[in-house]
């Protein structure tokens, strides 16, 4: 039954799938733009409280989605400080929540990668007269293959979470309904076969995205060693 449901995938289903990808991929892009430079700076920087900050960022990888959702809801609510923006119950609100969830993951993993590279190359870079912070772009570029894993981990978190998007998105049909909220809804309707089929599609999407990014990683790795 589940296979039949997948194969008969209709327009409605595609809207939901595409919105899921739209929200989570956009969130990962923004999270990467914030998290990668931040993580790299944290790796090469020398400042008091660095260890504490590293512990904090690592801990934030485990942010509970429902808490993030609630916080973003309170900010975006019409009674909240950012209510004037009228973003609650929009895909933008869902992206914001996922950016909050994913940024620490990307930052923490980036820090690890860059710290290892920095240990290897810092002497060389210093001898060229490159300052610590100025070496960040070079190190990020050098670690790009490993950093793909950080992106994928972030994407995995974003595409799989339901707690945050259901609160700030409201699971509104045709507007903010994504794969995970649909699965939650169908489960609550007792349509377990359909819910399971949707779960299978979600996993297929995750595999496809991982595969695509993996190909880029391999290609760039080969180019780097050519």
């Amino acid at each position: 039954m589940a296979t039949g449901l997948i194969l008969s995938g209709n327009a409605e289903l595609w809207t939901i799938v595409l919105l899921s990808l739209q929200v989570s991929l956009t969130a990962v892009v923004f999270a990467a733009l914030i998290g990668m430079p931040a993580g790299a700076a944290l790796a090469v920087g020398r400042f008091p409280g660095k260890r504490a900050l590293v512990v904090l960022i690592n801990a934030l990888m485990g942010l509970p989605p429902v808490v993030v959702g609630l916080t973003v809801y309170l900010l975006l609510s019409n009674s909240g400080p950012l209510g004037v923006l009228q973003l609650l119950y929009t895909p933008t609100a869902m992206i914001i929540a996922q950016v909050v969830l994913v940024t620490p993951i990307i930052a923490a993993l980036t820090r690890q990668v860059i710290e290892d590279l920095d240990a290897e190359y810092s002497e060389q870079l210093r001898s060229f007269g490159v300052s610590r912070l100025a070496s960040v772009p070079t190190l990020l570029w050098d670690g790009r293959t490993s950093l793909l894993t950080a992106l994928l981990a972030g994407f995995g978190r974003a595409i799989a979470e339901v707690g945050a998007v259901i609160i700030v998105g409201g699971n509104i049909n045709h507007v903010t309904r994504v794969m995970t909220t649909t699965i939650a809804l169908e489960t609550s309707k007792g349509n377990l076969a359909l819910a399971l089929a949707l779960g299978a599609i979600l996993i297929l999407i995750a595999i496809a995205v991982n595969g695509a990014l993996g190909l880029i990683g391999t290609a760039s790795g080969r180019a780097a060693h050519a």
Binding site: S79, G83, N173, V175, S188, G190, L192, S220
Partner: protein, 279 residues
């Protein structure tokens, strides 16, 4: 592959889908309705809302949560219309200035569903209070919403009437799932518990297993739905005109007829009972 090609490819892959999609229709005319899981899970909105949208061009975006959370969200001004089922809480919401005026929309009833083994011996009863007392006495498992929803409030009222202190039994035979109606039915049927549910959700529920309705037909199981506009004086962002148009339609002849016409397997799920003049 050089640095530029890599960046372009990676960027294209990541944002391509995001940008390639048509932007969600943000400029469309729409209202947000804070409502309950029972109205959504039963499929009523799926037939009701398109009719209203066809007639008026106003899209209706439903946020389906428990009555308690729906009222809370409406209090925060996050929604234009509130459609829930807990009359006392709704009247308090109006009295506190959260909403403008409350109108009856429709009703259905609650039922108690239970396992065929019927460990409390309540099957076929029409007296819900006596049945709950029997369930408590036999310590047969009972799954409660436990989420401050309309159904949960109704259930607690019935327990009080039965003179049973469920708080004392919490975690023992009285099990609060803290989730929606459907989720509670999934959990409750899984553990062989009795469950109080609205009839609409039960009829449309797809995972009944061998469960049957044990108790029904008691006047105390009456379940009234009310609709109201969120107070635009308190929350200036409320789309008063479009929101009121929805309320007028829902409580008017067309909306009421549409509610009456909605059936699953030949069973009517909701019964319209607006007291507003029907034209």
């Amino acid at each position: 592959m050089n640095k530029r090609t890599f960046l372009i490819r990676a960027a294209a892959l990541l944002v391509g889908i995001g940008i390639g999609l048509p932007a969600t229709s943000a400029e469309d005319r729409f209202i947000v309705v804070q409502s309950t899981t029972s109205t959504q899970n039963s499929g009523l909105f799926d037939v009701l809302l398109p009719e209203f949208t066809r007639k008026t061009g106003i899209e209706v975006r439903v946020v389906a949560v428990g009555t308690g959370q729906a009222i809370k969200n409406a209090q925060n001004g996050d929604g234009d219309v509130l459609l829930v089922h807990a009359k006392a809480a709704e009247e308090k919401f109006i009295a506190d200035g959260g909403g403008v005026e409350r109108f009856d929309v429709m009703y259905n009833d609650f039922v108690v569903v239970g396992p065929p083994a019927d460990p409390a011996g309540v099957s076929g009863s029409k007296d819900v209070v006596a049945s709950l007392a029997k369930i408590a006495e036999s310590k047969a498992p009972f799954a409660s919403r436990g989420d401050d929803s309309g159904t949960h409030k109704a259930e607690l009222k019935l327990w009080r009437a039965a003179g049973v202190d469920v708080a004392a039994a919490s975690g023992d035979w009285y099990r609060e799932t803290g989730s929606g109606m459907g989720a509670t039915l999934n959990t409750g049927t899984g553990m062989g518990a009795y469950i109080l549910t609205d009839r609409a959700t039960w009829i449309s529920f797809g995972n009944k297993g061998d469960y049957e309705i044990s108790v029904e037909g008691d006047k105390q199981l009456f379940n009234q739905y009310g609709v109201m506009l969120v107070n635009p004086e308190k929350h200036p962002n409320v789309k008063a005109e479009d929101g009121q148009a929805f309320i007028d339609w829902l409580t008017g002849k067309e909306g009421q007829d549409a509610i009456a016409a909605y059936k699953i397997d030949g069973q009517q799920l909701f019964f319209p009972n607006s007291t507003r003049p029907q034209s």
